[in-house]
Each structure stands twice: as C-alpha cells, then as structure tokens.
C-alpha cells in the first residue's frame, strides 16, 4: 500500500473517531450533569437517551440555514470552517497508542498549540460577521480571553518539555516510564487544566459564550448545521485537550494489565469528567477577574514552575525535591488566591 493511501485511511479513521467521540461526549455531558443535578438527562431517544446526539445532529442538518441580512456573507459562511478545521488538524499528531497515531511529529507538542490557536480567528470572525452586538461582544471577549490564556498554557507545557527533553509526544510518554509527570509537574498540570478550560470557553471561563450575559456570544446568529459545527468543534476541542493532558501528564497509553488504547481512553475520560464536573458546580468569572487571573497569577506561577524545573535540571536534584517544591508552590498560590479574594 503506498504511503499516501495509508495516510488517508488513518486520517479518515481519526476524523470518524473524533466525530463519534463528540456525539458520545455530548450525550455523556448531559447525562453526567443531569445526575449531578439529581435528574436523569436524556432517556427517551434510544437506550438511556444514547441516540440523543445523533437525533440532534440530524435535526440540525435539516434545519433552515439562515444568513442574517446584517451579516457579512462570506465571513459568516467561512467562520465555522475556520474553527472546525484546525481542531481536526491537531488530531493528526495525538498518539492514542504507539501505533495508533496518524503521524507522529518530532515537534508534536509545538504543532498542536500552533494549529489550535488558529481557531480564535474563526470565532472572532463569526462574531464580527454576524452583525449582532452580542456576537461582537462575545467574540471580542473570546479574543481577549484566548490570547491571554494561550501564554500560560504554552509555558505550563514547557516544563514538561524540559524534563522530557523533547517535543515529540511519543518520547514524552516514553519518558514517563515509572513516574507520571503529574508528580513532577503538578503546577504545570494545574496551569494546563485551568488555561485549557479558558481556551475551551468552558465554565468557569465561559465568558465569551455566557448564556446569561451575551446569549451565546459569537454563535448567537448561527442556526442549523453551521451552528452545529461550532458546537461540534467545542466538544472535539474538549476531547483533544483532555487527550493531550492524558498524554503529557498521565503517561498516555502506559499502564498495567489493560491494553494501551484503553488506558488512554480511561485517562482522557477522567479529565473530561472533571471538566463536566466543573461545569455543573461553578459560577462564572467576570472578564476583568479573568484577565487578572491569567496575567497576575497563572503567568508568574508558570515562570516559577519553569525556574524550579530549570534548577532541578541544572543541579540534578533528586525527583522528590521537584515534587515537594511544586506542591509547596501550588499551596502558596492557592492560599494567596484565597487571601486576596477575601480581602
């Protein structure tokens, strides 16, 4: 089989996998949040509502597609694609197992962040093109938020790259033999999770799409399948970020007894469930608090983490010192938030 045929097949499988995952995720979120809220979630469509997401998707497909008169036609139509495509491009380099990967890149980690930041353009474009003030407001919020959080996000990963000495995701997983990076880089993991929640526009950072403020933000004018594409990319993004966290901090497919892909899925879904749990529990931050949090807390914290990691590498300290130091930094930071917050 020529190489390009194999590549196409791999890409097709990856995209198919992500699409089905998204449908499962939407169903799962409704079920999980439902149960947290003491109700059942979807029940009537298929077994325990399992066909709910396909039904929603089909319905959205055959829904009227409205382009508002005030909209900028081309930008309005292009925006969903601009959000959708980068997210699927990132799937390419995420290793599910050593073999189950479309293409393992040497700069895998760098590639993922470089590509995924393109989707900001799509969101801003959607908000601008809609010709709606809520959409504009939402997209400006999204722009500010996602650009701000990109920086701590990248810095949080930098520590891992330093410890592993590579940007290749496979090498990073291999380097976690015996000890997961969640132990060596708890600060990095924390910043990564928080910043990626902001990147995903999810609670408590769902400011750009806040239902009670800007009525869905950039997507307010979108209907039918165009809106469905935004919705889909949001969940695909959730999956990819969780998968990335699983690979980088939880040693991806490594684990005893069970096959590698199952370990990978278990870890990914564990993180996804945490994200859902946040959504069911937390209220939303305000935009200025969000910015303060990124620039005054997360970024310095990321620098401190880099410093400690650098010292650890230079002086060749034992691993437990890095662990203890990181936990101490995290404790001090949370105490600081508490004190400042209550002041």
């Amino acid at each position: 089989m020529p190489e390009w045929v194999e590549s196409i097949i791999r890409v097709a499988i990856a995209i198919g996998f992500v699409l089905t995952t998204v449908l499962v995720l939407i169903w799962l979120e409704r079920k999980v949040i439902g149960h947290i809220q003491q109700r059942l979630g979807p029940m009537r469509t298929g077994f325990h509502g399992f066909l709910q997401s396909p039904a929603d998707a089909v319905k959205l497909l055959v829904k009227e597609d409205i382009i508002p008169a005030a909209a900028d036609r081309w930008a309005f139509q292009l925006a969903p694609a601009l959000v959708f495509v980068p997210i699927f491009l990132t799937v390419v380099s995420i290793p599910f197992t050593r073999t189950l990967v479309v293409r393992n890149l040497d700069l895998g980690l760098f590639y993922v962040f470089a590509i995924s930041s393109i989707s900001i353009v799509g969101i801003v474009m959607a908000g601008w093109a809609s010709g709606n003030k809520y959409a504009l407001l939402g997209s400006v919020r999204a722009g500010a938020q996602m650009v701000s959080y990109e920086i701590p996000l990248v810095f949080s990963i930098l520590g891992v790259a330093m410890v592993a000495g590579s940007l290749n995701l496979e090498t990073i997983v291999d380097a976690q033999r015996g000890l997961w990076y969640i132990v060596l880089q708890p600060v990095g993991m924390f910043i990564f999770l928080v910043a990626s929640l902001a990147e995903l526009n999810r609670t408590p950072f769902d400011i750009p799409v806040a239902e009670s403020e800007v009525v869905g933000g950039p997507y307010v004018e979108y209907s039918g399948i165009r809106w469905g594409v935004f919705f889909l990319s949001e969940y695909a993004n959730t999956f990819i970020i969780s998968a990335l966290a699983a690979v980088v901090f939880l040693a991806g497919w490594r684990g005893p007894l069970l096959p590698g892909w199952l370990w990978f899925l278990i870890k990914t879904y564990a993180i996804i469930l945490i994200i859902f749990w946040f959504r069911a529990t937390l209220p939303r931050l305000r935009i200025d608090q969000l910015m303060t949090f990124a620039w005054k807390l997360l970024l310095p914290l990321a620098f401190v983490n880099l410093l400690i990691t650098g010292l650890y590498l230079v002086y060749d300290w034992p691993r437990w010192i890095l662990f203890v130091a990181s936990v101490a930094v995290l404790a001090v930071a949370s105490r600081l938030v508490y004190v400042v917050g209550r002041a």
Partner: protein, 176 residues
C-alpha cells in the same frame, strides 16, 4: 389540550427546497420519517418566559419533571431553537417582539401556547392591554390549558407535539 392537526405551514416550506422535488417519492417519504424522528426527539425551545406560566415551565425543566428526558433543552437564541413556548400573557406591547423572535427562528418551527392567557387571554381577556390569545400573533400548534398548567400538562403538550410531528411525516408517506 387542543392540537391543531393541520400541517404546519413552516414544515412545508422547510421541505420544499433543493433536491426534495427531484427525488422519487419513496425516498422522500423514508427520509421524511427519519427527519421527523430526529425532530421530535430534539425539540429545543427558546429560553423565553412571559409571566406566571414561565415559573411552571421552569419547573418542568427542573429535576422533578426534567424535560431533558425528552431531549428538550432550552437555547437562549431564537436561531437555535425549534419550539417557542409562549408561557404567559402576551400584551400588546410585547406582540411585536414575539413576532420578531418567531420570525428569527429557523424552519421548521413550532409553537406551544401554554396557559389560559396564551390561549385566549385568560383572566386578563377583557383588559385594554392584552392580546386575546397568542394565536393572534403567531400560528400555534398545541394549546395547553390551565392557569397556570402544571408541569405535567406542559409535558403532555410536548408529547402531543411529538405525535403531531410524526403524524405529519406519515401523512406525507400516505400521500405518496
């Protein structure tokens, strides 16, 4: 509970474009059936309450009655909704915004008149400022009686709307 059993004008419009007319009847009937199944399982109402009935409508979304079981979740923007539940008194000042919202909703769309006020004006029928029934503003598919209706009544209304959506598909099949 009254269900208006004639075909929603909106549905005819929604199906009336594109490939639809060029495909053989058998296929369109089958796809109609599939689409109707999808539509009835995913009725998304607009987050929109007018008056007292809105409280019972919220009650229907909440844990005890949980409309999410039927795939009914609200969306704040009319562009993403399929059903408009008119829960409460429509007054003359509000008539224009209601109409605007209705027109912003993409086809196919349905409307449920919840409560006496939305049906015919209810206890405020004789007032100088109310519209005597939401059907004077937009076409209504299901009328749910009560002042206010219990959440179970709204639930029943939604089930009736689902039946209506399926019946429309079967009617079309029969016509082929």
């Amino acid at each position: 509970m009254e269900v208006v059993w004639r075909e929603s004008p909106s549905l005819a419009l929604a199906n009336g474009h594109g490939l639809y007319h060029h495909l053989p009847g058998v296929i369109t009937a089958k796809t109609d059936y599939l689409f109707a199944m999808a539509r009835k399982s995913s009725l998304w109402p607009l987050t929109f309450g007018l008056a007292c009935c809105a409280i019972e409508m919220i009650g229907a979304y909440m844990a005890e009655h949980d409309l999410d079981r039927f795939g009914v979740v609200t969306w704040p923007s009319p562009r993403q909704s399929d059903v408009m539940i008119i829960a409460g008194t429509a007054v003359k000042k509000m008539a224009e915004p209601i109409k605007l919202l209705w027109e912003q909703m993409p086809l196919p769309k349905w409307a449920i008149a919840m409560g006496a006020c939305a049906t015919d004006g209810g206890p405020f029928q004789r007032s100088y400022s109310t519209v005597q029934g939401a059907d004077q503003i937009i076409p209504i598919d299901v009328y749910v009686p009560g002042c206010p209706p219990r959440p179970q009544a709204l639930l029943y209304g939604i089930i009736k709307l689902q039946e209506k959506i399926m019946a429309e598909a079967s009617n079309r099949k029969a016509a082929v």
